[in-house]
């Protein structure tokens, strides 16, 4: 197995990348390569030009600003997973990253690459939706912000113009004391999740004051369970209430594929959301 021939470009700054994207025929951006390289090796992808982002300056790092962590698109998943700011502010992301591929692929794989690859099972995509992340996009027309909720345009297709790229992602973090949980079901650890679930809970005065519930792997894009979130607000988070919120997953529109039929995904989603809620509640500082 060998990649089909391509021309290789390794620009040093974003302006050069944008110029190449706008002028080359059939280009493809190479981030961490943990999805694109297999596709090249198997000749599922055959770009004429590979634009390598690994030597582009200013695309990596984690910084805190205005209630959010800004993570450069080329920041390695392993660096994010171990970053003290991420562990403190975005514990749900650190937890989710432990499910992303393996040790060796996280050493190369990037946050921006995973988001733009937009695999329905990608843990980072679900986490981004759970946290209402905002993508910083650069293109010929300048910079724009794009909500993660408007990011998936279709199956593995982000809402980016061909000459645009994601340079960073802002993840608003929740207040200290919030409860979190990311969990998933896969055939083996590190496999693509059949279904994943992310839960974030704020409990104050014995009642739920904020809730975020997200499913991955059930549709082309991540699925926020807005009705279940609304049902939790103001409620005393008893076991019954959590079960009731999770039970709403029995009604969702889930996809079928050779791995699992829709009914199985709905059952998985129901169980995983319940477990995620229970764990998030147990971890919430204000739990009654």
């Amino acid at each position: 197995m060998k990649a089909a021939p391509f021309a290789y470009h390794d620009p040093r700054n974003v302006e050069e990348v944008l110029h190449l994207l706008a002028t080359l025929e059939n280009p493809r951006l190479l981030a961490g390569g943990q999805s694109l390289m297999p596709m090249l090796n198997m000749r599922v992808a055959f770009p004429d030009h590979v634009i390598d982002l690994n030597r582009v300056e200013g695309l990596d790092g984690v910084t805190e600003r205005d209630g959010a962590l800004r993570i450069g698109a080329m920041t390695r998943q392993r660096d994010v997973e171990e970053h003290p700011l991420v562990r403190a502010r975005l514990p749900v992301m650190a937890e989710a990253l432990s499910f992303v591929g393996h040790w060796q692929t996280r050493n190369r794989g990037t946050v921006g690459g995973s988001l733009c690859n937009l695999d329905p099972s990608a843990e980072l995509v679900a986490v981004a939706a759970a946290l209402d992340a905002v993508l910083e996009v650069r293109g010929p027309a300048g910079a724009r912000d794009l909500s993660i909720h408007a990011f998936p345009e279709g199956f593995m297709t982000p809402a980016l113009a061909p000459e645009e790229m994601v340079t960073a992602i802002r993840f608003p973090f929740w207040p200290a004391g919030h409860g979190h949980c990311f969990t998933e079901f896969a055939r083996r650890h590190g496999d693509y999740a059949i279904v994943s679930a992310a839960a974030l809970l704020m409990v104050e005065g014995g009642r739920v004051t904020r809730a975020s519930l997200t499913l991955g792997g059930v549709a082309a894009g991540p699925m926020r369970l807005r009705e279940a979130e609304a049902a939790l607000l103001g409620a005393v988070p008893s076991e019954e209430v959590l079960r009731g919120a999770a039970a709403r997953c029995q009604e969702i529109e889930a996809m079928s594929d050779p791995q699992a039929p829709a009914w199985y995904r709905r059952r998985l989603a129901t169980t995983l959301v319940r477990r995620a809620l229970e764990t998030a509640l147990a971890r919430a500082g204000g739990a009654a």
Partner: protein
Amino acid sequence: MSDSRRIALAVNGVQHEAETPVREHLADFLRGTLGLTGTHLGCEHGVCGACTVLVDGRAVRACLMLAVQADGCAVTTIEGLGTDEALHPLQAAFCAHHGLQCGFCTPGMLTTLAEFLQVHPDPTEEDVRVAISGNLCRCTGYDSIVAATMEAARAMRGAGA
């Protein structure tokens, strides 16, 4: 269209300069151009872990990285982990605990675990199992690999103390 490039990189402490087709992945470069066939190639799409090498100290899949991307990097392959006279503690423990049968997955196991034990010198068995979850072995059943790793970790902690 320039289809090949000259790259310079350090492999196992030795500086090399060579021409590589830009589409060639690092594992093929190590094996074909440098003759370092200790790096094994199984699936070539990132699933089996056999081709794992250390790039700037980090365990990565050499089939999922282009050789041109290693320009300027320091690479450690299985050939650089220990010597015949002085095995790496992991290699010694793999021998003692029957951590290999056919040996195909072994280079990837050892390079992965070499970095893992540096970062986690005192792992649990469960930690070790997760660490090698990206390395397929079809003969040992993993138990002997885990036992060998725990032994190597003990030996390395002892040596460092």
